[in-house]
Structure formats: C-alpha cells, structure tokens
Amino acid sequence: MNHYLSIILFTPLAGALLLLLVPKQNENAIRWIANITALAGFGISVPLWFWYNPQGSDFQFIERAPWIPSVGAEYFLGIDGLSTLLILLTTMMGFIAILSSWNAITERVKEYYIFLLVLQTGMLGAFMSLDFLLFFLFWEVMLVPMYFLIGIWGSANRLYSAIKFFLYTLVGSVLMLLGILALYFYAHSVTGVYTFDVTQFHKLQIPFNLQWWIFLAFFFGFAVKVPMFPFHTWLPDAHTDAPTAGSVILAAVMLKMGTYGFLRFSLPIVPEATRYFVPMIVVLSIIGIVYGALVALAQKDWKRLVAYSSVSHMAMVMLGMFALNPVGITGSIIQQLNHGISTGGLFLLVGVVYERRHTREISEYGGLSKVMPVYAAIFLVMTMSSIGLPTLNGFIGELLILQGVFVANKTWAAFAGSGVVLGAAYMLYLYQRTMFGKIENPKNEHLSDLSHREFATFAPLLILAVWMGIYPAPFLRRLETSVQHIMMRVNPQYAAKYAECNTAPPTAEMVAASTNPAARFLSTMPCDVNGNPLPAAGSGQTPERR
C-alpha cells in the first residue's frame, strides 16, 4: 500500500473529473456520482484508523517522489496521529456535506459538486503534506472552490462575504509563504541542501531572531484561518452566507487548518518563538473565548450565533494548545475534532430548518420540538456536545484543555472556565427560544420532521459524539506520539523535569492506570510547569512510557 494516501487524496478529484463529463442536465446522475465518490472517499479512508500504528514511527504511510528538483520540493506525504484523525474527520464531513446538499442545491448542480470535491482534495492534501511547498499549494487550492461555494450558492450578502473570506485568508497565507521561504533559505544555509521537508525543519535549531519573524509570518497565515481575534471578522459573514454544506466544511474542517498549522509547523519548527509568544496568543485566545461567547449571546440570527460560538470554541482550542503541556495539546486536538462534530452538526441543523422555512431569524421559530421531535432530540445532543456535557465528546476536550491550562496558569483557566459557562448560556438560550414553548408562528405548524436522508447525515455525528464522550481512549492513544513529538520540540525542559518527578515507586493506582489507556493518559499530568509534583494528582507515569 505505497500509494494509500495518494488514493485517499485523489479520489474526490477523480470524482470531480468524472462529473465534468456528465451533461449538466442530468442532475440526479450528478448527485449520485458525487455522493458515491464522497462515500467511497470516506470508505477507503476508514482503514487508516486501524492501520495507523500508535506505537509506530512519527510519520507513517510515507510517499516520496521528486516534484520540482530545481527548488528541492518533493511530493512528500505522510501522516501521524494528528493528521490521521483530521483526515478521517475530513472524509466523513465531506460525505455528510455532500449528502446534505441533495435537495438544498437546485441551481448549477454540476459546478457545485465539482467545487465541493475539489475542495475536499485540497483539504486532504494539506493534512497529508510533509513538504511545505506542497502544503502551501493545497492550502491555497482550497480558497477558490470555497469562494465559489459562498459566492454562487450563498444567501443575500454572498458576494461581500465571499470576497472577504478570500482576501483575508489570502493575505494571511501569502505572509506565511514568506515565512516558509525564510525558513527554506535558513535551512539551506545550515544544511547546504534546498528542501521543503518538514521533518527536516523539525530538527533545525533556528536563531531566536529569525524564529521570531517566522513565527509571526506563520501566525498571520494560521490565525486568520482559526480564526483568532482580531482576525475573525470574515468568519461570521462567510458562515452566515455560505450554503449549509459550505458552512459545515468551513467549520468542521477548514478552521482546523489553522490549528493544524500551529501544531504541525509553528510549535515544532520555531519552539522558542512559540514560548515567547505565549502571552500574546493567550490574551488573544481569552478575548476570543469571552468576546465570541458574548456576541453569540446577542445574536438574532441562528447561523450567526453558531458562527460566533465557533470563534469562542476555536479560541479555547488555541488556549489549550498554548498551555504547551501534553494534556493541553491533546485536549486541544480532541476539541478540534469535537468542534468539527458538534459545530458541523449545528450548521447542518440550521440548514434543515432553513431549507423548510428560508429564514434564519431565531424569532421566527419557537416550539419546534412539538412538530419536529426527532430534530429537537438531535439538536439537544449537539447542543450538549457543544456545551461539554459529560458523557458527550465536548466534555473530554474541555476537561483536558482546562486541566492543561490550569497547570500552566490558574488565571487563564478561570477565563477558559468562563467560556464554558457562557457557552452553556448561549446554546441553551438558543435551544429554549427555538425548540420550547408554544408554536407562535403559524408557518411552523406543519413543518415535517427529518427525512431518512437527513437523519443519515446526523447519524455518524451522533455516534461519534457519544463514542468520544464515553470511551475516548482510542483517540487519545493515536495522539500520543504526535503530542510527544511536539512536546519534545516546543517544551523540552518540561519533558525532562516531568520525567524526573515521576520517579516514585508504582502504586496500586498506577498499576491500574497502566492497563487502562485513558487513565494512563490522564495520569500523565502529575507535574506543574516547574516540574513539581501536583498534590491532587496521585498517580504517576507508567514505566513503559519512559
């Protein structure tokens, strides 16, 4: 299986090319082909879950071929646990997005599916590339299809939102390109080889001055995509005006590009600058958490509310990441997946009622649980998942993030906690206004509940939400080597001290922990940032991890 990743990568593109050959009048044929391609794309990516070896080397399924030897760029694909999970999220959400569009899109159907499939290849490529130039290529390839998805199939303000999305992301990413180039020439001056090999970049010791610049260049590229306050203003517009599938992809996958970028590139390549910029990122994240939540609380537009909740949630992800300890980073990755599931689901839910009523005004709704009980139930699960109710996925992510942040700094943790509380407030307020009470608006009296197709789009999300909430260990296990790899680069002192403070003889608790992956994982938090054992954490690290 030397070309396994390439097959996953190019399946959607092949589908798009196939669609080019179908006459545009055959709308149903186009829909079937697109759906089958997306389902196939998901299907062939599922074995990744089983074939990825959590104990194996850092990057697996490696594919390498010369691409542009003149500049040292390669066609270099490879994945670790982090990208494995994000790739699976992408293929799944891609399929869900395409399935959800069956009735929603009636105009220019062929172009629509072609753009969605091309977008899918772009996203997968970005997660798989270990060559920085190749990554950048896929990163930019995503822009154009998304621009069209918003611009053609969006709602009222679509042209404005589309161009805003396009230009914001573009400015960020061209600055990132300069950072890549600076890195490229520095690597050449040290090693004498022109290369864009990210695994080589991970081994560089760059002088702080240059790190500082490179971090900033990357920061602009990734922060716009996350989006971090104050670069977030494109997001509410883009989300609100995008068609449902566009919002789902945007929220579930494209925002993860930014956080993925930080994890894959910023943290390991420029670790000292990363530590230097922690205060800035933390302040921006805290502002993002609180501000996003407060603005969400005040929204009258259902979709806009979910969009602002994204700002808040993604800021939480950033905060967890920049705690720069294993638990914080793991939590941040898990929360990325959770955000993909719950926010993706929430956008789908808005799409369902929008398709029926063609309005997103929250005041237009109310009492929907009477006429759409199944819908209301799913909405409830997604809301709880978003809030972080125990037994659902959101809880695991938020817990890990809070734990990581608490160890790093208690004040930050307090702000992060406020985000959780506010999150519960705006989501429950939304739920109450739309689902409960009497049906005031006569137009809502005869709304039909979910169709089988619509239910099918939610089923995988529900399964995952419960699975990750009850038994997250398989996910955590897949992230261990990735997180360790990042930690070794970004916070080596932490890793060293942390090893030291776990020299106590194994207790009964530890033995128990060693057999339970989740407990084992959670137990890897016995030290504070200074390497002193924490009183509350009783268990230590298991011997085999050292």
Binding site: S70, E140, G151, L167, L175, F185
Partner: protein, 491 residues
C-alpha cells in the same frame, strides 16, 4: 565588410535572417494574393515564425559573440527568442478573426509589422552592444507605433498610436542620452568591454547620471511607475491582439535589454541601479495595483495589472543574483502565457455587435461559453498568483529571490500587492460566474482561438503543477549570461 565581421557571422544570425525573409514574403504575398484569399497571410506568417523557430535549433548549445561583439548567441538570448516567437505566433492566431471583425483593409502589413517587431525583439535579446540594442529597440518600437494605430477609423486606436509615438520618442531621447554618457565614459559601445572599463569608477557622478538616465529610459519601455503614463491609454486603444503582443513581447524584450545593459554592462554599479530599481519596483507594483482596482474597462485593468507585473519582475533584478535573474526569466515566460491567454479571451468577446472589453461584457460568460470562462478564471488566478496555476510558481521564484537577497521588506510589499491584485482579478470572475444578465450574440470560439486558449490554458496549468522543465531551462539560461565572474561581482 567591416573588420572582424566574417561570413560565418551570418550563420549565427540565421534565425534573424529567416525571419526577415519571412516578413518580406508576407509583404510580397499580400500583393500577389487576391483580396479574398488574404486571410491565408496569417498562415504564411505562422510559417515564417515556425521556420525561424526551426532555425534556432542548431544554436541550442551555442555560446559565442558574433560580429566583433555586436551580438551574443547564447542560451539567454535563445530563451527570449523562443518566448518572442511563441508570443508572436499566439498573437497572429488571435488576430485572424479580430482583423475580420474590425474590417482591417490590409492584413499583410499588419502581419509584416508583427514579424518586424519580433525581429527587433530578437536583436534586443541578443545585443551586447549599445548600437545593436538600439537598432533592435527601434525596429520593435516603430513597428508597434504603427500597429497601435492600425484600426484607422477608430479614434481610440489613433490616439493610442500618437501617444505611444510621442512618449516613445521622448523616452528614447533619455535612453540615448544615458547611453551616450556610457559610451563617452568608457570609450566603447560593447557592454562587456564597458563592464571592465567601469570598474573603479563607481563614484563618478557622470556615470551615476548615466545610470539614472538609462533606468528612466528602460523604465518607459517596461512601463514602470512613474514612467508608465502611456501604457493604459495605449493598451486600451490599440487593437486587442496588438495590446497583447505589446504587453508581453515588448515587455520581455525590454527586460532582456535591461538585464543586458545593467548586469552585463554595469555590474560594478549594481549598488546604484539596484537601489533605483528597488524604488521603482515598489512604486510600480503598488501604484499599478491600486489603479487597476478602480477600472471598469478590462483592457485598461490589464494594462495596470501589466504595470504591476513589471514591478514584480523588477524584484528579480533588484535581487541581482543568479536566482533573481532566473526568477525574472521564469516569470516572463509564465506571464506571457497568462497575459496572452487573457487577451485571447477579450478578443473572443469582440463580436460584430459588442466591443467586449468592458467588465459588463464578461457578465454571464460562464453560462454562454463555459470553456472561455474557465480559461479566463485560470488566467486571472494565475495573474494573481494562486496555486496550482503557473503564476504562483513564478511569484514563488520572485519572492524567494527577494528573500534570498535579504530584501524582506520588498517581499512583504510584493505579497501584499498580489493580495490586492486578486481583488480586481476576482471581479472579472464575479462577472463571469456570478452575474447572469448578458448582452449581444453568443461568443463563438474559432479553431484558431481554440488553439490559443488550449495552449495557454495547458501552459498555465502544467507550469503550475510541474514547472521543473521551465525552471531548469531558465536557470541554465540565466547562468550563461555575460562574462565569467559577473554574477559573482553582483553578489
């Protein structure tokens, strides 16, 4: 025969001779062919261009100075000659229907002038002597003066020709003055001899004046701000294929001349001219892009975009390294394809009832002619530098040259400019894909235009995904430039 010139020198200018013969053949055929069969002249022209290209083949690995140092036959000139021939061929293919629609009286002269302009460009690229360069430049410029005013009943076309002529003559004077200073200070017109004569005279104010004047003169030719005033009017008024050829061929030839004069002729003065080009580059790309944002005429918009591109191209010159020159060559080649392609789409939109160069003429193109719209989309993304199109690979080289030479500020301004530029490129896309109201008859693709679009689209895509071959060729071409040690001196 002057001393030093031998019969074998004529062998080395075989391609130029073939082209001259071809041009004359077109003129003769114009007289001999009956009026209704004059459309065949386009094919005679293409044949001449093809024969010239074939005549280039024996010189693929040649590296000599011809006729006592008047011309250089090397990879550098070869690279440009291929570019000119390609651009000319594409222009001719674009012209066929355009001339029919405009009802131009005598296509023979038109094609003759295209070939003459190409000849001038080829001499400019090969010239390593101020005299040769001047002759090439004038051959090209005079041809373009006439071509710009070729549509005689059209007032805009006339205005373009007059403006171009007046400002061209003015800029020529400045350039000549600068060149005469160079000659006076070195006692030679040969650039390579001059290079060694100037060593140690870096602080001579007369030489600095010469640099300033030559930079200004060349600045006119490449339409660098603040010497760009003529460009928008000429580009808008000239017949569309001529605009295309002007913005590609003339610009590339002027860059070839620029590299010859400065890199080969004045490497010891590089600190001065790099500083001047540094300022010009920033001014040019910024002013070009900002002005382009407000245009509603697509030809005019592309004129400003072409100005901005001169600014990007100057980044390679500012870097002044082998990497910088390579980047300039790569970008010129890529730019030619995307720019010619974009003008081909405008030509396609020229119909009996529609002029086709206003933004609103693009409205709904995706519904009426999906292929043309897709092609234009690619060219616009490529001009804006979005992967996976060729434009990105070109910009990648230019920016990397700037970063490599530690011009970080310039690189930042460059990338921000390319972001600004997308705003107006995307506007065309908005009209093509997002607006539905249309006017006039459906645009029809003729076989010739289909060929043009096919070639330019393929080039834009292939060079964007797999540019290795172009990179190699450009690298080799740039490194054959000049006498040994010049690039080292620049570094």
């Amino acid at each position: 025969m002057p001393p030093g010139v031998s019969l074998s020198d004529f062998y080395y200018i075989l391609p130029e001779l073939v082209l001259t013969g071809g041009a004359l053949l077109v003129l003769i055929a114009d007289v001999l062919l009956p009026k209704e069969r004059r459309a065949a002249l386009a094919w005679v022209t293409l044949l001449a261009l093809g024969a010239t290209a074939a005549a280039l083949v024996p010189f693929a690995n040649t590296h000599v100075e011809v006729a006592h140092g008047l011309l250089a036959v090397d990879r550098f000139s070869l690279f440009f000659k291929i570019l000119f021939l390609l651009a000319a061929a594409i222009t001719v293919l674009m012209s066929i229907r355009y001339l029919e629609t405009e009802g131009a009286a005598s296509p023979g002269e038109y094609y003759f002038l295209i070939l003459c302009a190409t000849l001038g460009m080829m001499i400019m690229a090969g010239g390593i002597d101020l005299i040769t360069i001047m002759i090439g430049l004038e051959t090209m410029a005079v041809s373009f003066y006439i071509l710009a005013g070729y549509i005689k009943p059209n007032q805009r076309s006339n205005e373009a020709a007059v403006k171009y002529f007046l400002l061209g003559a003015f800029s020529l004077g400045i350039l000549l003055y600068g060149m005469s200073l160079m000659y006076g200070l070195s006692g030679t017109t040969n650039l390579r001899v001059m290079a060694s004569a100037f060593v140690g005279q870096e602080k001579d104010p007369r030489l600095m004046l010469a640099v300033i004047l030559v930079v200004a003169g060349v600045g006119f030719k490449i339409a660098a701000v603040p010497f760009h005033m003529w460009a928008p009017d000429v580009y808008e008024g000239a017949p569309t294929p001529v605009t295309a050829f002007l913005s590609v061929g003339s610009k590339a030839a002027s860059f070839a001349m620029l590299i010859r004069i400065f890199v080969e002729g004045m490497p010891s003065m590089s600190a001065d001219w790099r500083l001047l080009f540094y300022v010009l580059s920033i001014l040019t790309m910024t002013a070009g892009n900002i002005a382009a944002v407000t245009q509603s005429n697509v030809k005019r918009m592309l004129a400003y975009s072409s100005i901005a591109h001169a600014g990007y191209l100057l980044m390679g010159i500012v870097a002044g390294t082998a990497r910088g020159i390579t980047a300039t060559l790569i970008y010129l080649m890529i730019y030619s394809f995307m720019q010619l392609g974009a003008f081909a789409v405008i030509t396609l939109l020229r119909r009996k009832d529609v002029v086709g160069d206003e933004l609103k003429d693009f409205s709904g193109l995706a519904f009426r002619n999906p292929f043309a719209a897709f092609a234009m989309l690619l060219f616009m993304l490529s001009l804006g530098g979005i992967p996976p199109t060729a434009g990105f690979m070109g910009k990648f080289w230019l920016f990397s040259a700037a970063i490599d030479a530690h011009y970080y500020g310039l690189a930042v301004i460059g990338v921000l400019n390319s972001a600004i530029s997308l705003y107006y490129y995307v506007r065309i896309v908005v009209f093509m894909y997002l607006k539905k109201e249309t006017s006039g008859s459906d645009p029809v693709i003729t076989p010739a235009l289909a060929l043009v679009l096919g070639v330019t689209v393929m080039a834009t895509l292939v060079l964007g995904v797999y540019p290795q071959l172009l990179f190699r060729v450009a690298d080799v071409s740039a490194r054959t430039l000049g006498v040994a040690g010049i690039t080292a001196a620049i570094r």
